[in-house]
């Protein structure tokens, strides 16, 4: 968990992006945003036909380029959603980038950017994506939705950890939205030393709190509350 996440938890993405380049906490927040959403871009580039190395270089270069610049040329961050902004910007970047430029820029980019980027793991994960007719854009949308969920889950985990019961989250998480048969409530209740009834209340609260965390997270990437609902629906459509 990144320690300075809470301070930016509710800050809008375009504000984070526009914060002064020299402001270290601003930079951290920007990197954190990149960290959360690099995999969807990686998957998008891979599906678009780039090989693993080129994709990795492009993502790194793209973020470095994005973070190095104060004003963004390809899109206006004050307008629209973070999701479409990143996709458009990345698509343009990949199109404009010749191999030579990319190599030249890579060195500079790496210094600015400290994304925890494990190419092997990324490729492993990409290898598990279904090989079907899915377009790069659609894959990107789906991965984006999963990334948003992951971020919300991370936030929830840190909340439970801060509250002093990290084992609770680990035990309750299988009940959040189980796609398989969840463990028996009796066992988990005994493990957490609570009655099955209390456990069910706890699960209920976990779900409600997750919903809130998810909304907060999505709210950061859109412009208005109206867009929030729209974005959630778009994400829902992307995973179905």
């Amino acid at each position: 968990m990144n320690s300075d996440r809470p301070s930016f938890a509710t800050t809008h993405w375009s504000k984070v992006w526009q914060a002064s380049k020299d402001d270290s906490s601003g930079r951290n927040a920007r990197q954190q945003l990149c960290q959360q959403y690099w995999y969807p871009l990686y998957a998008f580039l891979r599906r678009s036909g780039h090989d693993p190395h080129a994709s990795e270089d492009l993502v790194q270069g793209f973020f470095a380029d994005l973070l190095a610049r104060e004003g963004l040329q390809h899109a206006d961050p004050r307008r629209g959603r973070f999701r479409s902004f990143l996709l458009t910007a990345c698509r343009n970047y990949a199109a404009n980038q010749s191999r030579a430029q990319r190599t030249a820029r890579r060195g500079g980019g790496r210094q600015l950017l400290s994304i925890d980027f494990d190419p092997e793991r990324a490729e492993q994960r990409y290898g598990r994506e279904p090989i079907d007719e899915e377009t790069p854009e659609r894959l990107f949308q789906r991965q984006w939705a999963l990334a948003v969920i992951d971020t919300a889950l991370d936030r929830l985990a840190s909340e439970y950890a801060n509250a002093g019961n990290p084992q609770w989250f680990a035990a309750l998480r299988p009940f959040l939205a189980p796609c398989d048969e969840p463990p028996s409530t009796e066992t988990v209740a005994r493990q957490l030393q609570m009655t099955p009834g209390a456990l069910r209340v706890a699960i209920h609260r976990l779900r409600r709190r997750f919903g809130e965390a998810l909304r907060e997270e999505v709210r950061r990437t859109v412009e208005s509350d109206e867009e929030l609902e729209e974005e959630l629906r778009a994400l829902l459509a992307a995973v179905r």
């Binding site: 994960r125 598990r128 994506e129 279904p130 789906r142 939705a145 999963l146 969920i149 919300a152 998480r173 299988p174 009940f175 959040l176 939205a177 189980p178 796609c179 398989d180 969840p182 409530t185 009796e186 209740a189 099955p196 009834g197 209390a198 456990l199 069910r200 209340v201 699960i203 209920h204 609260r205 779900r207 409600r208 997750f210 919903g211 809130e212 998810l214 909304r215 999505v218 609902e229 959630l232 629906r233 994400l235 829902l236 995973v239 179905r240």
Partner: protein, 584 residues
């Protein structure tokens, strides 16, 4: 790759992913009403009467009368007021959540304000030693579920039941309360014949309905889901229209004994009911809330319209079906029992056919109606061997506008044979303005023309002798008019010219006339209460009573009389001056 067992969304084969992303995103969309069931934690412990008795001493508990998803229901008596009550006790676990208790209290206050004869009244609600309870009016009767199971509901009763549910829903919706869980188990048929809806708003309260009696192995609330509107599954916002969908499911089940699933059959094809009910049922079951009935009162009023009318109340004498509502609005249908070549001997039909929403067409050997088709047809638009009407087509026709093969008599008469009329066009044309091989009239144009101002190869002396030649000027014609004939020819012109527009208007008016029945039908189909009850902008000339038809008919007849009179005059003149070739 497999599917989520809750929402059937695809889970892509990611070993790390132990959750369903679609279910999770829905939690964000509707944090308050996440529909995921909680894992079942064993059987719901029904509180024993003795235990309740100690917690609620003001009540005298008699027996446990039912238990379901929302808890257990007991029959009891309020000691102080000595009245029977029903006490609903919610599952114990729920009261462990202070947030739930708070919502419960808030919701109970809202529900207690509902006061309607078709809604079970709430007397009291509270939390006593870990049990949330609701004290309600005691209803002597059975649930609709019971009635459906024993199949004791006929179509007429079903209509009455649904109508009463509508009244309850309309009232609650106006108060801003959505039921969310309309199903036969929540509808009680009183012994008095009244219908009462219970458990209003409880579904929202107990949104994570822990132990439904019909819990399946996977933990999904199957029992209730069959009645849920599509938007209750998707993460869309739910409003009162979800209740209207559920009502539709109940309605369908009442009529057919089955719940509509997938491509379901029309109720009228499964049960012997009035096919007009299909339209009402289908509109409640629209998947899109916008296409559904928007308010329960609309369902109710459509149903009351249907039930007031006995569509197949057949008169054994002559298959007569008179719809009083449409009768009052100018509609009427009657068919004689006697048939000829498979066609009724006499058919009289006017107004709108309520089953199709279209204008009735009278078809018979003798057909009388707004639109009549038959050997002898009388009507606004008449088609027949002998056709009489505003606009008539046929062999022998009489009408405002008459098209006839042999004989056409009318304001504007057009025919291959003899045409007589204000404006007549035919082989032999007689009329105010007659055009034909032989034309006789105020202004006659033809090979042989006789009239006030006749133009033709042969003209009658009564007319003006004139050989066909280029018309240089009006003055030239005027020159040819003899002084003595001027008055006569002018009279012919004026008479003919007046008759043409008069009769044309009469014919067209009958065609375009919107009768009362038309307007009634449009009112009837109004989509929302606001448009339904708002006066519609109907042009004044369309706002006519059914009597207008008769008025127009009389006008036509009068005009025809004038034409006849004119003919008599023409013949009189013809007798006095024989037809002779023109002398140049």
């Amino acid at each position: 790759m497999h599917r989520c067992r809750q929402c059937q969304a695809l889970i892509y084969g990611n070993a790390e992913q132990t959750y369903c992303p679609a279910c999770l995103l829905r939690m964000g969309l509707e944090p308050e009403t996440a529909t995921l069931p909680l894992p079942s934690g064993g059987k719901f412990r029904v509180p024993p009467i003795a235990e309740l008795q100690t917690h609620l001493p003001a009540l005298e508990f008699h027996e446990l009368v039912g238990q379901g998803g929302m808890g257990a229901v007991y029959r009891a008596r309020q000691r102080e007021l000595e009245r029977p009550v029903a006490v609903k006790v919610l599952p114990e676990d729920l009261s462990a959540d202070p947030q739930f208790v708070e919502r419960f209290r808030r919701e109970a206050r809202a529900l207690a304000r509902l006061d309607h004869p078709n809604i079970v009244k709430i007397f009291e609600a509270g939390v006593a030693d870990g049990w949330c309870y609701i004290v309600m009016e005691w209803i002597e009767g059975v649930t609709l579920r019971h009635a459906i199971t024993v199949r004791s509901v006929d179509a007429a009763t079903a209509l009455q039941i649904v109508s009463q549910i509508c009244a309850a829903l309309q009232y609650a919706h106006q108060q801003g309360v959505v039921h969310r869980d309309i199903k036969p188990e929540n509808i009680i048929l009183c012994t008095s014949g009244q219908v009462k809806v219970t458990d209003f708003g409880l579904a929202k309260l107990v949104d994570l309905d822990p132990q439904d009696a019909s819990l399946t192995a996977t933990g999904v609330r199957m029992g209730t889901m069959r009645y849920m509107a599509p938007e209750q599954f998707d993460a869309r916002t739910i409003d009162h229209r979800a209740d209207i969908y559920s009502l539709g499911v109940v309605f369908y089940e009442l009529l057919t004994g089955q719940v509509p699933m997938g491509h379901f059959a029309l109720p009228s094809s499964t049960a012997s009911i009035d096919p007009r009910i299909d339209r009402v049922v289908l509109r409640t079951l629209e998947r899109e809330p916008d296409r559904r009935y928007q308010w329960a009162c609309e369902v109710q009023s459509d149903l009351s319209d249907l039930s007031r009318v006995a569509p197949y109340a057949t008169d054994p004498g002559s298959q007569r079906f008179v719809d009083p509502r449409y009768m009052a609005r100018g509609g009427y249908a009657w068919r004689s029992r006697a048939h000829l070549w498979g066609v009724p001997l006499v058919c009289i039909a006017t107004g709108i056919d309520p089953s199709t929403g279209k204008k009735r067409v009278a078809k018979g050997i003798i057909a009388i109606g707004d639109v009549a088709v038959g050997l002898i047809a009388l009507g606004g638009v008449a088609n027949g061997l002998l056709a009489v009407g505003g606009v008539s087509f046929g062999a022998v026709t009489l009408g405002g506008v008459a098209f006839g093969m042999l004989f056409a008599l009318g304001g504007a008469a057009i025919g291959t044979g003899l045409s007589v009329g204000g404006g007549a066009l035919g082989t032999l044309a007689l009329g105010g303005a007659a055009i034909g091989l032989i034309a006789v009239g105020g202004g006659a144009v033809g090979y042989a023309a006789a009239g006030g101002s006749a133009v033709g190869r042969f003209t009658h002396a009564w007319g003006v002798g004139w050989t066909p030649q280029p018309l240089d000027s009006i003055a030239q014609i005027a020159q040819q008019l003899t002084r003595g004939d001027l008055n006569l020819s002018l009279a012919g012109y004026v008479g003919g010219c007046l008759l043409i527009p008069l009769l044309l208007v009469a014919g067209c008016a009958i065609l375009a006339h919107r009768s009362e029945a038309d307007r009634a039908e449009r009112w009837h189909r109004g989509a929302t209460p606001s448009t339904r009850f708002a006066p519609q902008a109907v042009p004044p000339w369309k706002q006519s009573a059914p009597g207008t038809h008769m008025g127009l008919g009389c006008l036509t007849a009068l005009a025809l009389l004038l034409v006849m009179l004119f003919l008599v005059l023409v013949i009189y003149y013809l007798r006095s001056a024989p037809l002779a070739p023109i002398t140049m």
